[in-house]
Symmetry: C2
Amino acid sequence: MSARDFVSAQEVADRAGVSRSAVSRTFTPGASVSAETRRRVMEAAEALGYHVNELARGLMRNESGIVCLIVSDVATPYRSALLRELTLMLQNAGKVAMLISTDRSDGSVDRALRQAIRYRADASIILSGMPDKSIAQLCLRSGQRLVLINRDDEQPGTLQINLDDQEAAGRVVTAFARAGCQRLAFANSEAGTPSLMARERGFVTAARALGMEVSVERYGWTGYDAGRVLAQRMLTRTQRPDGVFCATDLLACGFMDAARHQFSISVPGQLCVAGFDDIEQASWSSYDLTTFAQPVVAIASKAVAWLANMTPDDGEQSIRLHAELVWRGSIRGG
Amino acid sequence: MSARDFVSAQEVADRAGVSRSAVSRTFTPGASVSAETRRRVMEAAEALGYHVNELARGLMRNESGIVCLIVSDVATPYRSALLRELTLMLQNAGKVAMLISTDRSDGSVDRALRQAIRYRADASIILSGMPDKSIAQLCLRSGQRLVLINRDDEQPGTLQINLDDQEAAGRVVTAFARAGCQRLAFANSEAGTPSLMARERGFVTAARALGMEVSVERYGWTGYDAGRVLAQRMLTRTQRPDGVFCATDLLACGFMDAARHQFSISVPGQLCVAGFDDIEQASWSSYDLTTFAQPVVAIASKAVAWLANMTPDDGEQSIRLHAELVWRGSIRGG
DNA sequence: TTGTAAGCGTTATCAG
DNA sequence: CTGATAACGCTTACAA
């Protein structure tokens, strides 16, 4: 068992010949300490290797500085990009990120939130899954702020950040039409999250509004492999689609690869493809995928700003951000 | 300002009609409480929405349960995959992950470690960058355990996890030779981390040992774009290489894309390519990249096991893991 | 098994 | 500006 011996403010105070309150004030931004006292304290602290104990500080201040990031599938390109922005901005805001991974099992998010409460996190940001109403209530009641990203559920007291998924999906129909596509299709996963379903809804209704044929297929869990399977199902029909909107870029990459290498269908020559997220791979020249950009920096900065501000009106708030269409080569006639 | 009102053990004790120590014991695994008392406490806790305050507990126990993950470029496929395994296994071990992002600036890792100390983390796992000796010493002196992954530096008291990079790089030379390659080349970044340099060293020496021609080029920071630039430099030579080992898969993807789409060179027909890491994209059929697998689960489980065990011998320890060659289609004649 | 009481390292309050 | 003193919520001897 290790020593576990940290130096305390008391020891610093002793060495510097001041009271421990003086030490505390030295390390509290904006507290009133004379230059001379501060200097002596800093010197002693440096020599002893003193570092404020945030556990004790959090106990007193009733504010831990911890923000929990609750997320599943961290290794996914979009998720990890969002994670990067969030941790970076939290650090810049003087907070620290606690990462909790969830799985698809029931109550996984609830367990994560309970963890957040135990560590007295100032806030939790939920990137995937939905918390049970009751546990969300508990968070809010105990003064923990809650941010839901792309969840689109009405939870009073929380900040909701969403995209204009449905409207965006409508815009891509226009693009397919301009490219001369005749038979549209939407490739979705079975995850059924609000944003995924909004994209499907938007695509289908916009296509119908233009009097275009449109079909929908759903399979698996929004990854590359699911995209391949979807291609297999959709491209072996007698009347195969010539314009496919995939619910995410990962699906689109799998779809394109299967189309080209398995069925020798040229993209965009015989088949136009679009995705959603604008993950890094979408810009790789093997894919060159037309897609919608997740405004990850905007999402992260909105979330962190809301947390940092501690807005006086604690009420719910809903932010809807714009997903910009990124034109690349997977749709003809950009 | 929010209410920030958590229920305390005292309140639970009052409601259950017991002392607050009884409450404490109920939530301490392996403490002696009668079944009846436990039941009443649990009931009261449930009703009130009580959750142990880990800040206070950590203060007393001198053990926070926090493990810091210090990492740069979280959004990179290999890094995020390792991150996923680590957080998952830490959770299973009853620990919680605190994520600290670093950049390439000097002292970035040191600042991260200082943060870790302030939160009295039980341990820190460093995935990128190197801490200053003095701050590492401070961590160890204050009883914080340190794990360095792929850093290959001698830091007494820490756990070092490394791969057999140099030996692996040697094995790929054999593969190139079997494929009939004549002119080998190593595509590296300028990052100069120990593992990257070990791969370069291993490749060059093995090639020379076989009497094969071999060149080295270094550029940028180990990403897709750097791979493209390296291809540009290396494939426009009069005597261009026909077997290229890229220091990472990301470099390899960029390299292959440039080779095929920019220079119309067929892979593996005219050019064999190999990478390192076995990121998810390496298995995508557009790349089908022969590469070495980072044993991420083994790495993570070794790290967490070491932390959990609190091995009596506190001394340094060095684990060298094997990077398995994953045969795919980017080298002829697998 | 249970309750009492003494800390853990900090900050906030309030005299001086 | 500075120093005592009382919290914060918890765990853990120690005694009952």
